[in-house]
């Protein structure tokens, strides 16, 4: 707790009590729990009753397909936190900006949220490109970004909390599993042609060759938006790999799985492991086209635990019964909660204090199960393997026994 909040002990008890009571009445109860000056020494948009945060995702343009779920999850989390009394007795008010699937726009909107709106935290970005575009802005104006997507690693910043998995967390457990359970000896690596699939496949190749002592029989990349996969499917038929390892994204995904099925590759016999297809993507691919494929990530909608059941039903209540929840959507949901817990641990909204207090923050109510923030601002989390069903959901068939340590700069994998 910070030194200048030393006189607030008497209030903090009331804060806890009022937090338990109905939150909307808080502003009427009289003095807020924490005096304004003590929790905000740097001029963030924090009043006695409100704190302003930003949501920065693409709701238009090609990435809207993926980012919609994240926006929905973040709004749900903010709603729930407000219903429980807010953060340090203050209700969260959000300002939403549209990155429009355009990376310079992301940077410009990030600057607006930090400089004009003085947001205490920003939940946002999805692609690595957008994160790379806003990173200098967050570092220059000292903001706090909660980034939800699983990504390639090789990054760490005081100003970012990465609530998705970095590449080694997602990749290594899955490869170990497929090597052990399926006795896989040969792998065919596929990916869309940009940084995340390329870096991920690089890590996968090192692990396959150096650790598992098995073989990569092919590695291939396709331009984003590629829609014709018949040639590579023939190559796969020719090389007969034990495992097809696919990191294809966006609309290409749909084309790939439809054509794989049409070409007579039966995923109940051919092992296919992907790290890029969440329940969100299956919506477009069609469950019958991908049934039988394995996916490796930290969260599946079908996870069987009380946290997740409550989360899924709350999500469906707010956004409709048919909405599916993928890995990134869940990670986005963690953002506001982790921020709330960190602010309350720090006893302050100040960015420096929040950044310093982040390591060690635990969230027991996460739908994926217990998570904790590592010193490197990534999350300790379990990794799971799911098998796609025809109804668009996954059966979770494996999870790591322990939390996997995040390692954004893996030695021996670069």
């Amino acid at each position: 707790m910070s030194s200048n909040s030393g006189n607030s002990d008497g209030f903090s008890r009331r804060h806890i009590l009022s937090g338990l009571a109905a939150a909307p009445a808080l502003g009427l109860l009289g003095r807020p729990a924490w005096a304004q000056a003590s929790v905000n020494t740097t001029g963030l948009a924090v009043t006695d009753t409100e704190v302003t945060v930003g949501i920065l995702h693409s709701v238009t343009g090609t990435m809207a397909i993926s980012e919609t779920g994240s926006v929905e999850a973040e709004k749900l989390a903010i709603d729930q936190i407000n219903a429980q009394g807010g953060v340090l007795g203050r209700k969260i008010k959000f300002i939403q900006e549209d990155g429009a699937s355009d990376w310079p726009t992301f940077a410009e909107k990030a600057k607006k949220l930090l400089v004009n709106d003085k947001c205490a935290a920003v939940f946002g970005c999805w692609t690595s490109a957008s994160r790379k575009a806003v990173l200098p802005v967050f570092e220059q104006y000292n903001g706090m970004l909660y980034y939800p997507t699983f990504y390639e690693g090789l990054e760490q910043s005081k100003n970012v909390i990465y609530t998705g998995q970095e590449a080694t967390q997602q990749i290594i457990a899955g490869l170990n599993w497929v090597a052990k359970e399926k006795g896989a000896k040969t792998f065919y690596l596929l990916g869309s042609d940009y940084i995340w699939p390329r870096t991920s496949n690089k890590i996968a190749r090192k692990h396959i060759e150096n650790v598992l002592k098995t073989k990569v029989v092919g590695e291939e990349y396709f331009p984003l938006g590629h829609t014709q996969f018949n040639s590579v499917i023939n190559k796969i038929k020719l090389t007969k790999p034990d495992v097809i390892y696919a990191i294809i994204v966006g609309g290409s995904n749909v084309a790939f799985y439809k054509q794989l099925k049409a070409a007579g590759i039966d995923l109940s016999k051919q092992t296919l492991l992907t790290i890029s297809v969440t329940e969100d993507e299956i919506d477009g691919i069609g469950g019958e086209n991908i049934a039988g494929a394995y996916a490796c990530m930290k969260y599946f909608q079908s996870l069987d635990n009380p946290n997740n059941k409550a989360f899924v039903s709350a999500f469906h209540k707010m956004w409709g019964d048919k909405t599916v929840i993928g890995d990134v959507t869940q990670a986005a949901y963690l953002g506001p909660w982790l921020w709330k817990l960190t602010v309350e641990k720090a006893g302050s909204f100040d960015i420096d204090k929040v950044a310093a207090a982040s390591p060690g923050v635990e969230f027991k109510g996460a739908p994926e199960g217990y998570v904790r923030i590592h010193e490197n601002h990534h999350l300790w989390s379990k990794t799971r393997v799911g098998r796609a069903r025809t109804d668009g959901q996954y059966d979770v068939i494996y999870e790591t026994a322990d939390l996997v340590e995040p390692d954004p700069f893996p030695k021996g994998y670069q």
Partner: protein
């Protein structure tokens, strides 16, 4: 890479690879046909071509949902209704756009480019607002899935053959319409000399509207067919627009034979290169080839007079 295989296995792979090339050829031709009519015959650069295709795809999606809800027994055949509906919807929208937008810009061809690009952005947002930002899954009748087992080791995708047959039909239809029918004669007359065509009694406005609508309608059918092989989302049209223009421009804007030859050349070189190198490299090499050939022959493979 061929060391460990018998001749028989290699043979089957080459047969399947040949079919992969032919399927790609059909896809390219199908997506370029509508544009060949609009850009080739009318000289209108329609940047919203992809969005007309996606309208067809969404019509297919709606039809599949309707059949699922009201006539599950007929689901096996819904695709044919869907294609007709896709044609009608896209053609209707095309006629509307021609009347509201294009017809006012015939004297300013470069402005049509800007106008149709704006139109494509608007349509994308409309799709996003109506159908949601997420991709939708189009359920296919079971007989369209899977592959046809020609021999033990040769498997041909059924939906690929379906696209090939459809492309053949539409190409023949367009050829007859353009070169054998009276209407086609009028279209060509208007393209060659609008004023003279008007003077001899051709209603040029009506011809323009019908041509544009036909081109858009064919785009709709193409979009409907591509729900089998590709994705259906608000911005999926963008995936096709570059290749469509590439095929039409490379072929020579006004020639149907040129479009066919160009689709064939581009698809075969891409699919062969993709087999021997990789997806990204194949695309790069093909584009370089096209650029070089267009530098030598700016009018495209087969060209008649370019409209001024």
């Amino acid at each position: 890479m061929f060391g460990d295989y018998t001749l028989g296995q290699l043979g089957s792979i080459f047969v399947m690879q040949g079919f992969a090339g032919l399927i790609l050829f059909s896809v390219f031709l199908l997506m370029a046909l509508g544009l060949a009519i609009i850009f080739g015959q009318m000289g209108v650069i329609n940047m919203a071509h992809g969005e007309f295709m996606i309208l067809g795809a969404y019509m297919t999606y709606l039809t599949s949902k309707l059949f699922e809800a009201w006539a599950p027994g007929l689901l096996a055949g819904y695709f044919f209704f869907a294609m007709i509906l896709a044609f009608l919807a896209s053609a209707a929208l095309g006629a509307l756009v021609e009347w509201a937008l294009i017809s006012r810009l015939y004297k300013r061809p470069l402005d049509t480019m800007l106008a149709t690009w704006g139109l494509s952005l608007m349509l994308q947002q409309v799709y996003r607002s109506v159908f949601g930002a997420r991709e939708v899954g189009v359920d296919l009748p079971p007989w369209m899935l899977g592959s046809w087992q020609a021999t033990d080791s040769i498997e041909i995708p059924i939906n690929g053959m379906f696209v090939m047959a459809l492309t053949l039909l539409i190409t023949i239809g367009v050829a007859i319409l353009m070169y054998k029918s009276r209407w086609g004669q009028q279209v060509r007359a208007v393209v060659q000399n609008r004023v003279m065509a008007g003077a001899v009694g051709i209603n040029t406005e009506r011809v323009d509207r019908a041509t544009f609508a036909l081109g858009c309608g064919i785009a709709g059918v193409a979009g409907s067919a591509f729900t089998m092989v590709g994705s259906t989302g608000p911005t999926a049209g963008q995936l096709y627009i570059v290749d469509s223009f590439l095929v039409v421009v490379f072929g020579g804007a006004q020639s149907l034979i040129g479009t066919i030859a160009s689709a064939f050349t581009i698809s075969q070189s891409r699919s062969t290169l993709e087999f021997f190198t990789s997806g990204s490299m194949a695309q790069v090499a093909t584009l370089i080839g096209v650029v070089i050939i267009l530098m030598i022959r700016p009018q495209g493979l087969f060209a008649t007079k370019v409209r001024r």
